[in-house]
Symmetry: C2
Subunit: 383 residues, 2 copies
């Protein structure tokens, strides 16, 4: 269940010919009526034209349709790319009966080539449906190097939140080559929607660090149709939204390019949660740490070195590190542990690493993967 | 020619038993008399005990001896590690007749294990010599994952600067797992020595980014004996020092773990040199960019995305990118070029990439390498 799980939305996915061989590459999500909407975008200064267009169209706090193409990022495309993004919005508006400013546009794929917008235009209007298959078709059409489609949904207290996402590489906090569209039938105003989305993104997609590479196109959108008639209290809506976003983020980590392990890195004892998150991101960004994850090696020294290199100063003499609950370093020095037994526990797949940096109450969890020879081979191929 | 190229210094390298199998792991450089000295150290907040000890001993602006062990970083070793670093300095002082505060201590190798300081003490005093072989022996003894020793020297205007370095992984700007000892017989005061060293490090070792991983032990030291009797003017001394440091930095890049290509990344058109250097480092830090270097792929889109993700804002519409002088992107969009011909030019080995980000006069050159499956395999092995 995905973007069509909530009442008031229909969707479609199709092949419009941007990708060769009839592979699905065009997804549409349409609300029955103009819906409250919010979004979080890449902070890149080379953000793609569709990001600029969607950001502007969202300034009203409402939207009716989201169109996403895969196979071409429409990034590094200058003024022509901007014109193509606007033309896409205009074609979608004409096809589904709304104003172009009510259309949000996303692209994902290779950076550089111009978007063949005429292929999108010719493919419209796609036949929309509100059943699970339509949601699955849309989630399939936004895939690039993903090996599986990513969908999630939660129903609670009379309302539903559902969504889809894509992303398998070029993924790091601050929204890197990652797209997600979330829909809900809860009654939520656009200001509240924006705040809830920002909070949920911070602890889900932004707590994900696969390769430290932020992209030009990252976008998370949410549309609220209000079709359930239920106006949930703040906490129950936020909780459900965090669940959906976290579910999608975990699916992205599990499908990361070449990854063989998902590592859940928990940092505690920092001065505040932001510092804990920054330390966690810094550790998860280290090629040496991630290569040792690949080897299933409880190499606490590399984590210790990565913590030291972080922009936030840490006291080495209080650092303790656990792999799967086994204490491997305490007070900044090596602890006594059964290396052989621990190596066997780490051989099996993903694992948890706990890092305590002091007596503070700040904590954060960062999701990462191992760095593997397959990742390098995959990304070393000419695109 | 290395640390013994300049008059007034002798050196030795030997196996003291920290590494198994009689592999050289202890190097000594001794000045005939207490020399003016300066140093640049890692900025890590988990810096190793020897870094703290050497920093304190250098506060006098002078030193007589440098002792370096490989095979153990003496990092993540707490108070016991600090005591071991001081004991090492005391043993060297006793062996070569100076005050412990005139001894600088460096360690490199695995983080975590305590330093077996008694092995260093038992190996002292090593028999010193001032011939090229003695310098080579010292340069060999500081190697860890290095496949070749790194030495450089320049003689000009009646004085000589020579040095040795080690480093093959965990290398990034701000001095990461990299040690270098430089000696000169020029007459240079310690304040001027410090300024000259900081300047030279900035454009050589700090312009090197192999894997973005800063370490706990990075140290560059320089000792000036004054034995030539020549007091060079500021520029000629600095120029020669930059040459020696750059030579060593290039040797480190060429020997980077698993690397198959050295890439010289030149950023121009930034507001100032610092911004150019920061942009260059950010691009050289991208796993995706470095994986495309491995593939010999002129993938300008990944460079474009990395520039956008940098903390310094760039104008996408003026970015131009060249591979080996061939324009592949201009005005933020793809240029017309012969991809096949360019791919053939990039197939051969290292190459140059020029990135222009605007009309400014700021420029910088950053040295990096490709990210390879071999790097990951190497660093995925349990240490």
């Amino acid at each position: 269940m995905s973007v069509t799980a909530a009442h008031g939305f229909s969707a479609a996915g199709a092949a419009c010919g941007i990708k060769p061989g009839g592979v699905p590459d065009l997804a549409i999500v349409v609300a029955e009526a103009v819906a409250n909407a919010a979004g979080v975008f890449t902070t890149s200064s080379t953000a793609a034209p569709p990001v600029h267009v969607s950001r502007r169209h969202l300034s009203s706090g409402s939207a009716k349709a989201v169109v996403i193409n895969s196979g071409c990022a429409n990034a590094g495309t200058g003024g022509q790319g901007h014109t193509a993004a606007i033309a896409t919005a205009q074609a979608v508006a004409a096809a589904y009966g709304c104003d172009p400013s009510d259309v949000l546009v996303c692209s994902t794929g290779t950076i550089g080539p111009q978007l063949p917008v005429e292929r999108i235009v010719h493919a419209l209007p796609l036949e929309l449906a509100s059943d699970p298959q339509a949601g699955a078709d849309a989630a399939t059409a936004i895939m690039t190097t993903d090996s599986v489609r990513k969908e999630a949904a939660r129903s609670t207290g009379g309302f539903t939140i559902g969504g889809m996402a894509k992303g398998a590489g070029m993924i790091r906090p601050d929204m890197a080559t990652m797209l997600a569209v979330i829909t809900t039938d809860a009654v939520v105003g656009s200001m509240r929607l924006q705040r809830a989305l920002e909070g949920a993104v911070q602890v889900s997609f932004n707590a994900l660090n696969v390769d430290g590479c932020q992209s030009t196109n990252d976008t998370v959108l949410i549309l609220a149709s209000g079709a359930s008639g239920v106006e949930p209290d703040g906490e129950s809506f936020t909780d459900a939204l965090v669940e959906v976003c976290s579910d999608l983020a975990h699916q992205i980590a599990a499908d990361a390019e070449g990854a063989t392990r998902v590592v859940i890195l928990r940092v505690t004892g920092a001065d505040d949660d932001d510092e804990a998150r920054e330390l966690g991101k810094f550790v998860a960004d280290s090629d040496l740490v991630r290569a040792s994850f690949y080897g299933g090696d409880p190499n606490w020294g590399r984590i210790f070195a990565a913590l030291g290199a972080a922009p936030i100063s840490v006291d080495p003499d209080v650092i303790s590190i656990r792999f799967e609950g086994v204490l491997v370093a305490e007070g900044g020095t090596e602890a006594v542990f059964d290396g052989q037994a621990l190596a066997e526990r780490l051989a099996g797949g993903g694992f948890g690493v706990d890092v305590n940096v002091g007596p503070g109450s700040g904590q954060a969890t960062v999701l990462t993967t191992d760095l593997t020879p397959e990742y390098v081979r995959f990304n070393g191929e000419r695109s």
